[in-house]
Symmetry: C2
DNA sequence: ATCATAAATGCAACAGGGTTGCAAATATTA
DNA sequence: TAATATTTGCAACCCTGTTGCATTTATGAT
């Protein structure tokens, strides 16, 4: 019997999703698991390239497969740059605050799915894949400028 | 004394925002006021071009000024294409459902700002400009394919 | 109205995120 | 090991959105 934490590790995550265990996928997953804020593709490429270059097309395709399998969440921003975070048990759906100047994105405490459901009352014939709550504005630092 | 409806008309909106009354701005505002769903720049250009062409840079700049003045809201999507809707009295903040296949965006019933505030508990030192709730998934039609 | 000044628009060129086709490399299975 | 399917890299591309600059249009004072 595995602990919950173990099940969120890279190789288990890939196994549970039915994805083959390539080194590329594990490297990207490792970065996402250890991130404390949602990452853009540029962020991920920058981290990868410190160790060994990876083609950006590969990163996009891997993120796309992770998204299809529900391993990660995609969070759009006002600036047209998507960000990605783990969608595992330890990271339930939650809102984000996003500074439109420095483009810092910060995770907020989670809300329960039932709260979201009650509040937003999505139409019953719409199949929900993803609920994104994004609060854009100015962080404390950027308010001073 | 003007009625509330009159205050949301194009020329009044421009006057209240302190923007000069150019024909370009009025044409775009007219399109947004009569839209029943948030529009992309392509949507707006397509409608404009049926009558008389307008340069896309002009459209972007006008939307940008409208956004700065709080006349319109900008709604990002998973596909990196922003959409725009009026932010007048008759159109309070509300969530949207967005189909990731046909890319249809539909407005949902409004929630009160205090509900959002209580639920998301944004940090007190963050100055909120915009709260966006976006529900992505499949519309009824696209579920059948 | 006339002129001076500021603001708005069009055009071209560009930036950056993201995608597609195809060939080469790697993993999987028999 | 050999055959097959999947993954990766590369180049070229598409699309949204931006920037610089010249031209046009609006504004405001004389
Ligand atoms: Mn988060
Ligand atoms: Mn709406
Ligand atoms: Zn900031
Ligand atoms: Zn659809």
């Amino acid at each position: 019997m595995k602990t919950a934490r173990e099940q969120c590790e890279a190789s288990n995550t890939l196994k549970n999703a039915g994805l083959s265990q390539t080194s590329h996928r594990k490297r990207i997953l490792h970065i996402l698991i250890h991130a404390d804020t949602p990452l853009s593709v540029s962020d991920i490429l920058r981290q990868l390239d410190q160790e060994r270059k990876m083609n950006k097309v590969t990163v996009y395709r891997i993120l796309s497969s992770f998204k299809s399998e529900g391993i990660i969440r995609e969070i759009p921003t006002d600036h047209g740059v998507n960000r990605y975070e783990m969608a595992c048990q330890h990271n339930p759906v939650h809102p984000h605050v996003y500074c439109r100047i420095c483009r810092t994105m910060t995770c907020m405490p989670p809300i329960t799915l039932s709260q979201v459901w009650d509040l937003f009352a999505a139409p019953s014939d719409f199949r929900i894949d993803n609920i994104n709550v994004s609060i854009t504005g100015l962080c404390r630092t950027c308010q001073r400028k």
